[in-house]
Symmetry: C2
């Protein structure tokens, strides 16, 4: 990876491909876009993309790996890591609400889960790690939040974290099928239950 540490305003071709592929992935699914679609949009030939990502498997794996790097970076940002738990949870909800506002994109997990068995093994492995790390992070947030009295739930933090993340991924899918309303309803219900009054 020769990508500069400080993102340029004019992304290189590799990054432009990744960004566009991510658009397609989150809007139409991994098995519903092709190198032709990418090439047409980028104004190049399909084989030009094969240079940067020899196979679609490579491209897909790079997409999930990038998202995993982003998760770790986000989670460790001072403006996230140093927040109190209830605001960390709000920051997480904001990410999903941002997806909703971005043409009702589903999240990475929600995009790949149904097609999971058709994905290349490295991509499956990256997605498992992504989901595991996110769940572990939220479990920790919930544990601290309950201990300090700002968050409320029964059962174990790990179970609640798995449930909440699953619900959020699903809520974006429901928004995709209907409209923004059910997402708002579901997240409203989560807030009602989690935030200690």
């Amino acid at each position: 990876m020769l990508t500069p540490a400080t993102p340029s305003l004019v992304p290189d071709t590799r990054t432009r491909i990744l960004d566009l592929a991510e658009d397609f992935l989150l809007e139409r699914g991994f098995n519903a876009f092709s190198y032709q679609h990418l090439a047409k949009e980028l104004g190049v030939k399909p084989a030009a993309i094969h240079y940067h990502f020899p196979s679609k498997d490579d491209l897909g794996t790079a997409l999930v790996a990038r998202q995993l790097r982003r998760l770790r970076k986000w989670r460790d940002l001072p403006r996230v890591a140093d927040l109190p738990p209830q605001q960390q949870l709000e920051a997480l909800l904001a990410v999903y609400e941002n997806h909703l506002g971005h043409d009702r994109r589903v999240c990475l997990f929600g995009s790949l889960a149904a097609d999971f068995r058709t994905l290349p093994a490295p991509m499956q492995a990256e997605l498992r790690t992504f989901n595991r790390e996110l769940t572990e992070w939220l479990a920790q947030v919930l544990a601290v939040g309950r201990a300090t009295g700002t968050l409320r739930f029964v059962g174990s933090p790990a179970a609640k974290a798995a449930q909440v993340l699953t619900t959020l991924a699903g809520a974006l899918q429901v928004a995709r099928v209907h409209d923004e309303t059910p997402f708002q309803v579901i997240v409203g219900q989560l807030r009602l239950e989690l935030f200690a009054s």
Copy 2:
């Protein structure tokens, strides 16, 4: 539809196609199987399937329409409709647990939501109706359950129903990505929260 009211032990070709297509749909996703896959498995040529379902859109729409008919039939069965609310909820959970035991199949909604924008309009419409009717049914179950003191939750029955169904669909997706454990954990959490102790 010339399908007999009493299902035969030797399904006709049309039904065999639908059954197999449903297998593929719930195990690999709508954009990850072809008429060739179906034909090879059934021992016929791809074009034979085109006779029964002229386009893949027709096949997909028939799949969702059949599931909608099944939902209505199930919901109205005396052994479901006449149960007390907490047992109706258990019957619903049993459907999802059955999916889990069936090679961790996702549910219809969970299978189609991510690819939704690539689906033909009639299929989209059927899926919306399917999800709406299921949510309305569960909202009614939850409302009666809370009124009679056997189920417990805050917020509106409609919001809780949307949240629970979304969580169940998502839980099967998580099981697909990892293993059965997170599904059990999530459904255990749902039970802990919903069933009045």
